[in-house]
């Protein structure tokens, strides 16, 4: 074991810290799920990109720094520690991009990656449909061949697309073989949401902002150039993307370490009985355990190992941890816990309440925790398939 960072890694940390200290906006940006907030988050992504901090782990030709996994984790720690804004481009950068690197052709990468990294084009995920939530293989939205124009015509409905209200492009699964069932005959498409035939209906999330969208597609043309991988291979490619979502890509430890530290500070300010003290300490320990677990995963990956269904173990842990730590903060706040942003006496501008509402989505998205436990039981522990 060697839990030290190398001199280069420490240097990288200092460099990131210095830039973030000088550049992170002093005032928090408005919610990225408002029109104004969305634009300002985009502007922040651009600033990150111009300084080459938007996509540190990407190759330099796409605006990255070719940083390794450890450096990426360091950057994430510094990013959250600096209180930098949430990444409006995260679904593209952290979920879709790895898939595009693995399955896309050069033209697709050149076309999409730079605009994604700079925040110019924000990507949204289009998996869920009214009849396909946990049972994603039940996707019904279809794509019909249009040979005359060298592409496909998409019809159907996607729902719960985060950032769908203001986002620009969607990646998702469509059924290209009308006779297919379940996970066969599905194809992975990249769809321009400005195309004729697309209707977007914003849906207010628990916090009241239009964070979700319902997306209706009516005979929307998508050229062959925007098919990722071969037609019919969509399911396999999708698995790679959702693995990123459950695994460490979307939820780096840095994201949880900083709120855990702030929770300790909140406890110092407000105090509380022993059960509260224990809950606060637990929140910090869980974030720390998550960090260590991630280092273990990274070691495994660097040694040539793979993470498969293990990402489900990860997902159950972080989503529960996030809910618990915010619930603890609300307990600490007592009567002030219910005060929403804009209330004159809201503590820390109600960020704990906001965070709590957001965290509650964790056990639902990225595959519900019930589904993750099924996966753990069957694919990791080897139990027979559930009936």
């Amino acid at each position: 074991m060697d839990l030290e960072f190398t001199a280069e890694e420490r240097q990288f940390r200092q460099e990131a810290r210095a830039w973030l200290t000088a550049n992170v906006p002093a005032e928090p940006l408005p919610s990225m799920d408002t029109e104004d907030g969305f634009r300002r988050h985009q502007a922040w992504e651009k600033r990150l990109f111009d300084a080459r901090w938007a996509v540190v782990s990407w190759p330099e030709e796409y605006g990255g720094r070719d940083a390794g996994l450890t450096e990426w984790l360091i950057f994430e720690e510094e990013y959250h520690r600096a209180g930098a804004p949430g990444r409006v481009g995260q679904n593209g950068i952290f979920l879709f991009a790895p898939t595009l690197f693995a399955f896309g052709d050069t033209a697709q990468r050149d076309r999409y990656l730079p605009a994604m990294a700079s925040g110019e084009e924000i990507w949204v995920q289009g998996w869920s449909e009214p009849e396909a939530g946990s049972d994603l293989a039940n996707v019904r939205s279809r794509a019909v061949r249009d040979d005359a124009h060298g592409g496909w015509r998409l019809t159907g409905q996607k729902i719960w697309s985060s950032r769908g209200t203001y986002g620009h492009r969607l990646f998702g699964l469509f059924r290209t073989d009308p006779d297919s069932r379940r996970h066969h005959g599905l194809t992975y498409f990249m769809v321009d949401l400005a195309s004729p035939g697309v209707t977007v209906r914003p849906i207010a999330q628990l916090d009241g902002e239009p964070g979700f969208a319902e997306i209706f597609l009516d005979d929307v043309f998508v050229p062959d150039a925007d098919v990722l991988g071969a037609p019919g291979e969509g399911w396999t490619i999708m698995i790679a993307t959702t693995g990123s979502e459950r695994g460490l890509n979307l939820r780096s430890p840095g994201r949880f370490l900083e709120p855990a530290r702030r929770l300790l500070d909140l406890y110092r300010r407000r105090g509380g009985d022993e059960s509260l003290r224990d809950a606060v300490v637990r929140a910090w320990m869980d974030a720390e355990a998550y960090r260590l677990f991630t280092f273990g995963t990274v070691t495994k990956l660097l040694d040539g190992g793979r993470i498969g269904a293990d990402s489900s173990v990860n997902k159950v842990f972080w989503s529960q941890m996030d809910v618990e730590s915010h619930a603890t903060a609300l307990r600490l706040l007592g009567e002030y816990g219910e005060l929403d942003a804009g209330s004159p006496e809201a503590v820390d501008d109600a960020r704990w309440l906001d965070g709590f509402l957001f965290a509650l989505g964790g056990p639902i998205y990225a595959g519900t925790n019930e589904i993750q436990r099924n996966t753990i039981a069957e694919r990791v522990l080897g139990l027979p398939r559930a009936r």
Binding site: M1, E4, F5, R268, D278, V280, L302, V313, L383, P384
Partner: protein, 348 residues
């Protein structure tokens, strides 16, 4: 940055695992229940593998290794619910190496000729004190300097206790500290006792990981084979989720234990906090594993005829031993919420 046991630690662990699979079966653990002492011919065999002298310095016939190797090995010992006092051997060795290296005890422990028991401040009972050849006793009164004594159990009054886990032979130890038994006193003794307690807690945490894995494996195997209403119970989601929850607990306890081993081996300032975290996480994993294993086994798990209880009872005993969760939580809390500002992301 590497969080993984090294190749040698791994191989050593495997060797011990294979040995114990043959020489410390559930039947052997049961035999320890019935015997006066758990220490048997196996002790000498463990010594041949280097296990009893793992942390004994090499100029005293030991392997001179540290907490990382110790943890890797104790995890395997936990998998087998080994009744022999390996944690005690490791704790005693550390103290003897520092304060009484020339008394011959170290080499005898390493060669498997002597069994050591320990009684540190805060511990009520000493394991295997009657079968032991020496007991390392620490005293740390609030108003006087700490002292460490090495005593002959024959000079003590030993009152046998009965543990829920009959393989654990517990004793209340009464003795009169005399100059002849004193090996250290003052701040150096206090520091050594604190480190010894951390080593014991860490070793126990590693042991608990092994117990957790064993109970999980037993339960997965049972869930795959037990049929009710015409179907294997492992196909039921509620059963699957019980076991998935155990795996999540285990997978997150393991790196915490590994990091504590790393910190303690290097004497890092965070070591006490890291060890407490390890004990808490491993204890919780073992506790959840025990409860869910029992639930999934149903009534057969509620008997002494089935082997499960051997592992559950060890888990309960060890969760309480070497500092229970509330003691360790208080220590982490004091560290995190003390006067210093809350720790930032480590600078390292």
């Amino acid at each position: 940055m590497r969080l993984a046991y090294g190749e040698e630690q791994h191989l050593f662990g495997e060797t011990v695992r294979d040995f114990l699979a043959a020489h410390c079966t559930a039947e052997h653990v049961r035999a320890a229940w019935a015997a006066d002492t758990a220490v048997s011919a196996r002790w000498a065999e463990l010594a041949k593998l280097g296990v009893t002298g793992l942390v004994v310095p090499d100029d005293h016939d030991g392997l001179g290794l540290g907490e990382e190797e110790l943890s890797a090995v104790l995890e395997q010992a936990g998998y087998a619910a080994l009744p022999d006092p390996l944690v005690e051997a490791a704790v005693a060795s550390g103290i003897l190496a520092e304060f009484a290296p020339d008394a011959g005890w170290l080499a005898r422990i390493a060669r498997g000729e002597s069994v050591a028991s320990v009684l540190l401040p805060g511990q009520a009972f000493a394991v295997e004190a009657r079968a032991a050849d020496l007991v390392v006793v620490g005293i740390a009164p609030a108003d006087a300097p700490a002292e460490i004594h090495v005593v002959d159990p024959a000079d003590c009054t030993l009152t046998a206790q009965v543990s829920v886990d009959r393989a654990r032979k517990l004793f209340r130890v009464g003795f009169d500290p005399v100059p002849e038994t004193l090996v250290a006193s003052g701040p150096a003794a206090a520091t050594a006792l604190a480190r010894a307690a951390d080593r014991g807690a860490l070793g126990t945490a590693a042991f608990l990981l092994g117990l957790t894995r064993r109970m999980l494996d037993m339960t997965v195997a049972y869930a795959k084979q037990r049929v009710q209403r015409g179907v294997v119970i492992g196909t039921h989601q509620s059963v699957q989720h019980h076991l998935a929850n155990v795996l999540v607990k285990l997978e997150f306890a393991r790196p915490v234990v590994m990091r504590a081993a790393y910190s303690l081996a290097r004497g890092l300032p965070s070591a006490p906090r890291d060890v407490s975290m390890a004990k808490i996480y491993a204890g919780e994993a073992a506790d959840l594993a025990a409860r869910n294993a029992l639930q999934v086994h149903g009534a057969i798990g509620y008997t002494e005829e089935h082997d499960l209880h051997l592992f559950m009872k060890r888990a309960w005993a060890l969760t309480a031993a070497w500092g229970d969760a509330s003691r360790h939580r208080a220590r982490v809390a004091a560290d995190l919420l003390g006067d210093a500002p809350a720790p930032m992301t480590p600078e390292l």
